[in-house]
């Protein structure tokens, strides 16, 4: 089974029915998969903090949300994470394309990559790093953990996990 299908299956199995996305080349396949799932309402957002607002509203409306975005968005959303998602204690799985890691072809992506884990740690956000394809097996447990503790949780997925963005 493809990784994209497996991720969408895990989202659906965990009753996640509202997903917002800001695209990244690495995430194109999973975004397309989500778009085609009847169980998931897919709403693209123009900026990641906007997307987190949508997710906060969806959760208060009784749906389980998720956001799919690139790690550069951590720089955009620190305030929203602190004063909305964490302050009101809301669950939010964040499936994050971890650009700027091994096999990255674009040098500038490394500039945010070196800050990504430090920022997440500073925010006390539980963080998981998918580096090998088999790491995806933990996704189901991570999603359950997120809705158990009502916190934002980061799942960093690097180029090696996606099969090598840099090799394309």
């Amino acid at each position: 089974m493809s990784i994209d299908k497996k991720i969408a299956d895990d989202l659906v199995a965990n009753d996640i029915s509202f997903v917002t996305t800001v695209p990244c080349k690495q995430l194109a396949g999973v975004i397309e998969e989500i778009e085609h799932r009847d169980e998931i309402f897919h709403i693209p957002s123009n900026k990641e903090d906007e997307g987190m607002g949508l997710c906060a509203g969806a959760w208060m409306g009784g749906k389980r949300p998720a956001i799919i975005m690139q790690n550069t968005a951590i720089g955009v959303t620190i305030n929203t994470l602190a004063t909305l998602i964490q302050y009101y204690r809301m669950p939010l799985p964040m499936l994050i394309s971890y650009r700027g890691e091994l096999r990255e072809p674009v040098a500038c992506q490394v500039e945010m990559a070196v800050h990504t884990k430090a920022l997440l740690a500073q925010m006390n956000i539980p963080t998981y790093h998918f580096h090998k394809q088999s790491d995806v097996e933990e996704l189901d447990a991570i999603l359950k953990y997120t809705f158990m503790c009502n916190k934002p949780v980061a799942i960093l997925t690097d180029a090696n996990f996606w099969g090598g963005y840099g090799d394309q």
Partner: protein, 185 residues
């Protein structure tokens, strides 16, 4: 009229509806005028009231009224295309457009100059956009509720704030009682 006078005017309409209220003085004013469990007050995060309200409207059937501001929409302008392209007919975005950043000391915004938020909303694809005067807010809001159509209201009014206390309620309590009100029959 200034914002607090409008909120007093429309409080009887807001009372029974789910309301998502913008950060800062708007939330303080609404809280002081008529605190309700059906009110979600934003205590932080500039600009996201319209997005939170849209997510809420798309996820459950009750009407949702967002009380937003011109400064807040300007800071999250990307919200309008998302609203236009994901139609929720239980969603009313009421932009109180006083041409100033009220909560920070009434510094002027561009909507008091050349920028028209109603035209921006229309250009973004919002189908029912109504710009109105402050004195007509209640009538236009009631018509929006009755229309059963997604509506963006731009209420042109005077700049100024009422002196109201800061909200000291815990955010988790605000959120929890709001969610119970959303889920109530």
């Amino acid at each position: 009229m200034i914002r607090s006078e409008i909120l007093k005017d429309i409080a009887p309409i807001l009372r029974d509806q789910l309301v998502v209220c913008n950060i800062g003085i708007p939330s303080q004013e609404l809280h002081a005028i008529d605190d309700q469990p059906t009110n979600f007050y934003m205590l932080g995060t500039m600009g996201l009231a319209s997005s939170i309200g849209l997510g809420l409207a798309l996820s459950q059937p009750k009407p949702v009224i967002v009380i937003d501001g011109d400064g807040s929409i300007l800071t999250n302008m990307g919200t309008l295309p998302t609203i236009a392209n994901n139609v929720a007919n239980n969603y009313i975005l009421m932009i109180i457009d006083n041409g100033s950043y009220g909560s920070t000391g009434d510094q002027p915004t561009y909507t008091g100059k050349k920028t028209s938020l109603a035209k921006v909303a229309e250009a973004c694809g919002c189908d029912r956009v109504i710009e109105c005067r402050d004195v007509d807010t209640g009538r236009v809001l009631q018509e929006a509720l009755d229309s059963g159509e997604m509506t963006v209201m731009v209420v042109k009014c005077d700049s100024g704030n009422a002196k109201m206390p800061v909200i000291t309620m815990d955010p988790v309590i605000i959120r929890d009682r709001f969610m119970k009100a959303v889920a109530a029959e």
